[in-house]
């Protein structure tokens, strides 16, 4: 199927600013789905609130646009009742890790078969540039006008500690890698986390003098390096990208099936 067959054209033009990284994530995600030859009817996309969350409106899947931070909780209900469907949950950094942080770690802990894509632009885009839990110390935001004193989460470490069985990081500069990782994340049976560094030139970029969208993407090339690379050993400041964890673990819906068998027998 061509990429455009996955889109709801009546929903365009999209709402994102020129140069916003969220469009690249949409593009790579659809390529991953195309490569996997998934049926549109077999995909459910659940999202919360944010510029990133609007992604669900543009795709011709079963789409559930919910409330801020709670997408994974809704997705858990859908997945538990229809384990045969592919659940994809794109989230902003605030959506996933501030208001939704609790749902995130618990979905990871259960290892429920959902693909969570965290579109990390280090800012609250939709509400106009307030700092998020991923903005980072020393950065500027409309609510951190004298520099931010909040430290950032490391999404990858957090996801691993919480028990996610697939954890990866990539950026909008590395579109080919992003497609490949999302593809593997969807295929993985268990809770998959893909952190994508994605630029918000309008707020994070402008506030922190990071230049145009192209310059911000170029920067992703400079500040990241493949996991375990020589560069990474020489310069621990660099952010690693690639697949950190990919392991087989009991998946929640399959486990619950066993509970049903036990309960039926013991009745």
């Amino acid at each position: 199927m061509a990429i455009k067959d996955y889109l709801r054209e009546r929903f365009f033009p999209h709402m994102w600013c020129p140069g916003c990284g969220h469009g690249t994530v949409l593009n790579c995600m659809l390529r991953a789905i195309e490569n996997l030859a998934l049926e549109k009817n077999d995909i459910v996309m659940v999202s919360g609130i944010g510029c990133s969350a609007r992604i669900s409106g543009y795709v011709d899947f079963h789409t559930l646009h919910t409330i801020h931070g709670r997408a994974l909780a809704f997705a858990t209900g859908v997945k538990m009742s229809r384990p045969d469907l592919n659940l994809i949950v794109p989230m902003g950094d605030g959506d996933a890790l501030a208001i939704g942080g609790n749902h995130f770690i618990h979905a990871a802990r259960r290892n429920i078969d959902i693909t969570a894509i965290i579109m990390n632009n280090r800012i609250y885009g939709m509400t106009g540039g307030q700092f998020s839990p991923l903005t980072g110390y020393g950065k500027l935001a409309t609510t951190a006008p004298y520099t931010n004193i909040d430290h950032a989460f490391d999404t990858v470490s957090l996801a691993i500690a919480a028990g996610a069985s697939f954890v990866a990081r990539t950026t909008t500069y590395h579109a080919r890698q992003m497609t490949d990782i999302i593809q593997k994340a969807i295929q993985h049976k268990g809770f998959s986390v893909v952190e994508v560094l994605t630029q918000c030139p309008t707020y994070f970029g402008r506030k922190n003098k990071e230049g145009s969208a192209a310059e911000m993407m170029e920067n992703y090339k400079n500040i990241t390096t493949p996991i375990g690379s020589k560069k990474s050993q020489e310069n621990p400041e660099l952010i690693e990208r690639g697949i950190f964890v990919e392991k087989e673990m009991p998946e929640y819906c399959s486990e619950y099936k066993k509970i049903i068998q036990k309960a039926v027998k013991g009745k």
């Binding site: 009546r10 009817n41 559930l64 919910t66 909780a73 858990t76 009742s81 049903i260």
Partner: protein, 382 residues
């Protein structure tokens, strides 16, 4: 199947009724005095191939059951005040997206953590107004286990009929008290199943286009029709819009589908109203004491009657007005500062004749408490 008689807590009666009504999916978070509902669900649901989920908090619980309902399941969650407060944003979402679900609030004393194991009916107005924005809501209650069974089934039926969340307002007394329960044979109480669309695969389906009677046939989410669901104002396809005409139309639809059907939704019980000069209006566990007093005083020839409300919201103003028209005094009996009193005063023609008999100290209101107030009103002194 033979008749089943049980001696159970109200919370368990509620579980039995939910299963009778066809419950498939429950998600919750433990909280006194509702916890037994989750515990019984954890045992019973997997036995019938259903699903029980213990979520990380109450809003997650409501979100999870909304997701499960969309795919075609009958769903429920249960909580008490603090958890009900946490749920409010998701409750508004279910109202806006018209997703059937049943939410049980086994009330405790509030505000805040309040009195976890004591009697109160302090959340009646929260059930009505807790979530933001103009909206309509259905909230039901009952005073004994047999009624609670019927009303729980009714909650599921109304949720399906009107595609809306329905709130079941129990309290610590009804939830924890043990009483005889007769579980009716399957089929004895009619069950409303989900109204599904007849639109075929490949044909344009409008998930948010009401039929002439206001009802919205559903297509199981994840099934043959792909559509969008959003808490934003949306058009008939479920796509966000701020077109004033569509916004106005949707809000009116959400209000009218319930507001125009109060006569169909309202459930109540009446005792000795025909010739009553004094009418008690009560609901939930308070109505037990009210009924006790009424029976007692009737034996002594006093013309006392009871109107027991089972539907709290939408408030049945017309019924209350009509039933109380000839009474000299109306005494609202509830365990709060007069949350239903206010509505009764609005309902009757002569609000000066309406009084309150309440307790707000966590103690169950007794027939003597009510009688003392009654004597004051009647000028007899305590």
């Amino acid at each position: 199947m033979k008749n089943q008689i049980k001696f159970v807590q109200g919370n368990e009666a509620c579980v039995e009724a939910a299963l009778y009504a066809g419950l498939d999916f429950f998600a919750g978070y433990p909280i006194t005095p509702s916890t037994e509902i989750a515990e019984h669900m954890a045992v019973r649901l997997p036995q019938i191939g259903g699903r029980f989920l213990q979520m990380e908090d109450e809003i997650a619980s409501l979100c999870a059951i909304i997701g499960a309902s969309l795919t075609g399941n009958k769903v429920m969650t249960a909580t008490s005040g603090p958890g009900f407060s946490l749920m409010q944003e998701a409750l508004g979402y279910a109202i806006m997206t018209e997703i059937p679900c049943v939410i049980v609030n086994v009330q405790r004393g509030g505000p805040s953590t309040g009195l976890p194991t004591h009697a109160s009916q302090g959340d009646i107005n929260q059930a009505r107004w807790g979530t933001h924005g103009d909206h309509a809501i259905i909230a039901l209650t009952a005073s004994n286990h047999q009624d609670l069974f019927d009303i729980t089934v009714e909650a599921f039926n109304l949720a399906e009929t009107y595609r809306t969340p329905v709130i079941l307002m129990l309290d610590e007394i009804t939830g924890h008290m043990r009483e005889r329960l007769h579980i009716p044979k399957p089929g004895k109480i009619p069950i409303v199943s989900r109204l599904k669309t007849s639109v075929k695969q490949g044909v344009d389906y409008h998930p948010y286009l009401p039929r002439e009677d206001g009802r919205l046939p559903m297509s199981d989410f994840g099934g043959i029709h792909r559509y969008n669901v959003t808490g934003l104002f949306h058009d008939m396809w479920g796509f966000p819009t701020d077109n004033p005409q569509i916004v106005h139309g949707l809000l009116r639809h959400l209000l009218d589908k319930i507001g125009n059907n109060v006569h169909l939704i309202a459930k109540y019980k009446e005792y000795y109203l025909e010739d009553a000069t004094t009418i008690l209006v009560s609901y939930g566990s308070s109505a037990r004491s009210a009924l006790h007093l009424v029976n007692n005083r009737r034996n002594r020839g006093e013309r006392l009657g009871l109107l027991e409300l089972q539907t709290l919201w939408p408030f049945p103003y017309g019924i209350v007005r009509e039933k109380c028209a000839n009474a000299r005094h109306v005494l609202v009996v509830e365990m709060n500062m007069g949350q239903i009193l206010r509505e009764v005063k609005i309902a009757v023609e002569d609000p000066e004749k309406v009084f309150l008999a309440n307790r707000i100290d966590g103690m169950f209101i007794t027939p003597t408490d009510i009688r003392n107030i009654l004597r004051l009103i009647q000028g007899k002194g305590v």
